[in-house]
């Protein structure tokens, strides 16, 4: 390709624009593959798995609850490990908890993830410990009783809002205290932890959208409305897929529902996002990112449709679960790649900004 002259007009994506030798204005994200996209996948999967686990626990679906607990714990801890590995100085991982900065989605996310991984690990450990012969009966018993107690809190949670979230915590406490006598401490603590993940889980699954949107990367930042839904949908599809793959079909009904709805949400959010972004959304449609996103779309849609009927056979379950997993992964890789591509091409930075300035004369630069 010929040299782009500095300062001269270059035929851009949608408009003529000027740039400095075609160099990007912003820096591309430094995050590596597969670490970061895999983490996005795992975090989402973990978060929704927690929700599933909570609901399964509440609704007395221990098999599904166990799968989801384990998936949540595994996703969060492996995800956290991937994040640590992603750091330039992994030995300073703990510095993530040095301050709490509401302005930093990564700071907030770190605290969320710390909570999510700790809680989900506790929930999973307790559950696994319950499998041990001595504790098994008590845990099962406690589980049923505890579930009943939790309903009050859940209702509050469904009302939405921060206040109810706080109530949930309160409800949980009482619930746990309430059952403390008739089951082992481990089980109670595990349930308490699990209950707490009802809060951290959805946050874990969605904060990552803010994480990447809160950058100067045009394809990410401009998509901040849809990305959380895209990620939420993708996370639901992923978690639903894992749950239905690892749970006997009979108990996996809600998981399939979650997966199917997730696929719908993901597809809808993705379509909406690309449409609304216009020129800035091009990276989602072009190049490697475009291929990844297209593949994700197909896999997710297919997997979602299959999820609706997957209860009928092991093969369908497997097909659906794998397709959704792959679809969710592709989405994460695709979004990452689209961000990289939009950062690398100065058109995505300059053209919208220039349009903004030109649209409002007198604003921005004087002169």
């Amino acid at each position: 390709m010929g040299q782009v002259k500095a300062g001269t007009a270059v035929e851009g994506r949608d408009a003529e624009f000027r740039s400095y030798y075609g160099r990007p204005v912003i820096k591309p994200p430094v995050w590596h593959e597969p670490h970061m996209p895999t983490y996005l996948y795992l975090g989402g999967m973990s978060g929704v798995s927690s929700s599933i686990a909570v609901m399964a626990r509440l609704t007395g679906n221990p098999r599904l609850a166990r799968t989801a607990r384990l998936a949540a714990a595994a996703g969060a801890s492996v995800g956290a490990a991937l994040l640590a590995a992603e750091l330039g100085r992994p030995e300073r991982f703990l510095n993530m908890l040095r301050v709490f900065k509401p302005t930093s989605p990564m700071s907030v996310g770190s605290w969320i993830l710390a909570a999510q991984s700790g809680l989900s690990a506790a929930a999973a450990s307790a559950d696994l410990a319950g499998l041990l012969p001595a504790a098994g009966g008590a845990a099962r018993l406690g589980g049923r009783r505890g579930a009943a107690r939790l309903r009050g809190g859940l209702g509050a949670a469904l009302l939405g809002g921060r206040r109810s979230a706080a109530l949930l915590g309160g409800g949980g406490d009482t619930g746990i205290l309430g059952v403390a006598e008739d089951r082992g401490f481990l089980g109670v603590a595990g349930d308490a932890a699990l209950l707490a993940t009802a809060l951290t889980g959805p946050l874990t699954a969605t904060y990552t959208a803010v994480l990447i949107a809160d950058t100067a990367v045009p394809a990410w930042h401009e998509a901040y409305r849809e990305l959380p839904f895209l990620f939420a949908g993708s996370a639901m599809a992923a978690a639903g897929a894992v749950a239905m793959l690892a749970t006997p079909r009979a108990q996996a009904g809600p998981a399939r529902a979650v997966a199917a709805v997730g696929a719908v949400v993901e597809t809808a959010a993705g379509t909406l996002m690309e449409r609304r972004l216009g020129m800035v959304g091009r990276p989602y449609r072009e190049g490697r990112a475009g291929r990844l996103m297209g593949t994700a779309r197909m896999l997710t849609a297919g997997g979602g449709l299959l999820a609706a009927v997957a209860g009928r056979s092991r093969v369908l379950t497997a097909l659906s679960g794998l397709a959704l997993t792959a679809g969710s992964l592709c989405t994460r890789f695709g979004v990452l790649e689209a961000g990289r591509a939009s950062a690398a091409d100065p058109a995505y930075t300059i053209v919208p900004q220039r349009d903004r300035l030109d649209a409002v004369p007198g604003e921005g630069l004087q002169g």
Partner: protein, 277 residues
């Protein structure tokens, strides 16, 4: 808090000598950036990065030249060679600082934005957050680096190395308010001299980053110099982002709950799965 200190880079007197780049590297003991011929005028640095905290851009421009004897090449002839030393903007609303999860990036008493290399864990989040593409993670080192406006020198009452070295005073350092006044006068003077294209970049507190601590006098559109024409701190939209994410999280939680509720399985054991048939 001491007075806010800043840079005013007057590109109309920049001679492109790159003393700022070298003085910065000598003081801050930065590694070299590799030895690559870029064939982009006299710029072999490319852009600001982890090891380049001052970058001099070179832009060769042709305007209609009336040279009757040189008509065989007049249209190609460069008659304007813009040079500009870019640097971290030390934004009032600094995205890098906002998004840094560790507190490695912090705001100093001079109202500058500095990375603490003993704290930074190299998460890299600041890198794509910066709307100017300033900060970057250094390969092999793993941490994020950028201009500190020579914080250590300022603590000793010294001006930053680049400003001190600059032969033509293209880079001026001082209290930001003073610099803004000086810059306004300079622009007025240039315009009076017929340089209508002279403009300030980054000096306005009402811009997308709340005004830069390092601002510029440019002779063309910012993008010509590799600067974003209308940068906005990404965290300006953060509350909205959290709202959308919160909505998504709630929807998610609700959806999951609904998946169980609709399943009619609030009953123990839940045998009938609507989706399960």
């Amino acid at each position: 808090m001491a007075e806010r200190m800043g840079f005013f880079t007057d590109t109309s007197v920049c001679i492109g000598c790159k003393a700022c780049e070298v003085a910065c590297k000598e003081w801050n003991q930065l590694p070299d950036d590799g030895f690559v011929f870029e064939a982009t005028s006299y710029d072999n640095t490319g852009m600001l990065g982890a090891s380049t905290w001052r970058h001099v851009a070179f832009i060769e421009q042709s305007r209609p030249v009336q040279l009757p004897s040189a008509d065989d090449g007049a249209e190609d002839s460069v008659d304007r060679w813009l040079m500009a030393s870019d640097v971290c903007k030390h934004c009032t609303h600094a995205a890098c600082l906002d998004v840094c999860p560790t507190g490695a990036l912090f705001r100093t008493e001079f109202d500058t934005v500095v990375v603490q290399s003993d704290i930074c864990n190299g998460c890299g989040y600041c890198v794509p957050a910066c709307p100017y593409g300033v900060i970057d993670r250094r390969e092999g080192d793993g941490r994020a680096w950028k201009c500190t406006m020579c914080y250590d020198r300022q603590l000793g009452g010294l001006e930053p190395a680049c400003a001190k070295a600059c032969p033509t005073d293209s880079i001026q350092f001082g209290p930001l308010d003073e610099l803004r006044e000086r810059a306004e006068e300079r622009v007025a003077r240039l315009r009076a001299d017929g340089h209508e294209e002279a403009r300030l970049y980054g000096e306005s507190p009402s811009d997308g980053v709340g005004g830069a601590g390092a601002f510029f006098l440019l002779l063309d559109e910012p993008e010509v110099y590799g600067l974003p024409p209308d940068p906005v701190v990404t965290t300006r939209d953060l509350p909205a982002m959290w709202r959308w994410a919160g909505a998504a999280a709630l929807s998610l939680a609700g959806t999951v709950a609904l998946a169980f509720l609709k399943d009619g399985s609030l009953r123990r054991g839940g045998r009938h799965h609507r989706w399960g048939r």
